[in-house]
Amino acid sequence: MAEETVEIKTAPADFRFPSQNQTKHCFTRYFEYHKCLKAKGEISNECEKYAKYYRSLCPLEWIQKWNEQRDQGIFAGPL
């Protein structure tokens, strides 16, 4: 019986955020993704990696709040 290899992976540990508090890590991945989209355009798939990272790390509530803030133009990140 042929066995499928399933690879499970998640946002890797980032050396910029080595300690317990990962708040900035999640925030950084979120705006890195949107900066990448701005730079490379919505159609390209290169930004997908950042999307996976921020989705793995950030609570959905936070993501929704930041999406609303971006829509309203009041997002605090360096976009």
Binding site: T10, A11, Q20, S56, L57, P59
Partner: protein, 255 residues
């Protein structure tokens, strides 16, 4: 459903993964973190007993041999004794330094999260936990998320543990490096599972990272460990560790 009571199997042990009445020691460890904690505790405890015995010996000798019925001598003007003061200051300092070495080593080892394979997000609410598994997104772009409430006493089935069992357990695979990202939604809670050596505050506005590698299958219970309101004692945590195959099957069923 897990067979937690293998009555006819001589090879399977029953592990203490939940609090027992009148329990004195730790719960049985299921992760390297908890094994490290238990080991450190046991080795410090040994020297603690030796020192305690020594101190009590000296104290009781003095009380027994030098009470006023036995000895009328009173050293009224003995204000200082430099040598003995040096001894009883430096010796405890050396003991503390000796304890610090393995303790800090374990502390920093516990903080290392080098390359996790999966992330589980935990949010503490008043008064339940919610979990998100966002490494996998289904076709609708949704991740797995669910709330976990304590089973009320009136709804307990036979064999379920009062104040510990929940409706939806956190299912995770064994032998996998898991990262937990813990936050609070309203007030500060604390995500604690003693068998896995997990205890981390769930603070609103902050994401606290901790990691675990579960070495055996089983269900591991814990309770909220930061006062968070009237039902602080009624929001337990139950982590069910299964083989990676069963975990993938569970993921498929949830998505």
């Amino acid at each position: 459903m897990f067979n937690l009571f293998p009555l006819f199997s001589a090879n399977t042990a029953i592990f203490n993964d939940a609090p027992q009445p009148w329990q004195l020691g730790f719960q049985d460890g299921a992760s390297p973190t908890q094994e490290g904690i238990t080991e450190l505790h046991d080795s410090i405890f040994f020297y603690l007993v030796v020192i305690c015995f020594g101190v009590l010996w000296v104290l009781s000798s003095v009380i027994v041999n030098f009470n006023s019925n036995k000895s009328q001598l009173v050293y009224k003007y003995a204000n200082h004794g430099t040598l003995i003061e040096l001894i009883w200051t430096i010796t405890p300092a050396l003991v503390l330094i000796a304890i610090a070495f393995p303790s800090f080593k374990l502390l920093y080892l516990m903080d290392e999260v080098i390359s996790p394979s999966m992330t589980v997000k935990v949010a503490g609410h008043q008064w339940y936990w919610s979990y998100e598994y966002s490494d996998f997104i289904n076709e609708d772009g949704e991740s797995i998320e669910f709330d976990s409430y304590m089973v009320p006493e009136t709804d307990l089935e036979n064999g379920q543990l009062r104040l510990l069992d929940v409706d939806n357990r956190v299912v995770v695979p064994i032998d996998t490096h898991i990262r937990f990202i813990v936050t609070g939604a309203d007030v500060i809670h604390d995500f604690a599972v003693p068998s896995l050596g997990l205890k981390i505050d769930a603070v609103p506005g902050r994401l606290n990272q901790t990691s675990v590698l579960i070495e055996r299958e089983g269900v591991f219970y814990g309770q909220c460990s930061e006062i968070c309101g009237v039902y602080h004692g009624f929001m337990p945590i139950a982590i069910e560790a299964v083989t990676p195959e069963k975990y993938l099957a569970w993921i498929d069923s949830q998505a």
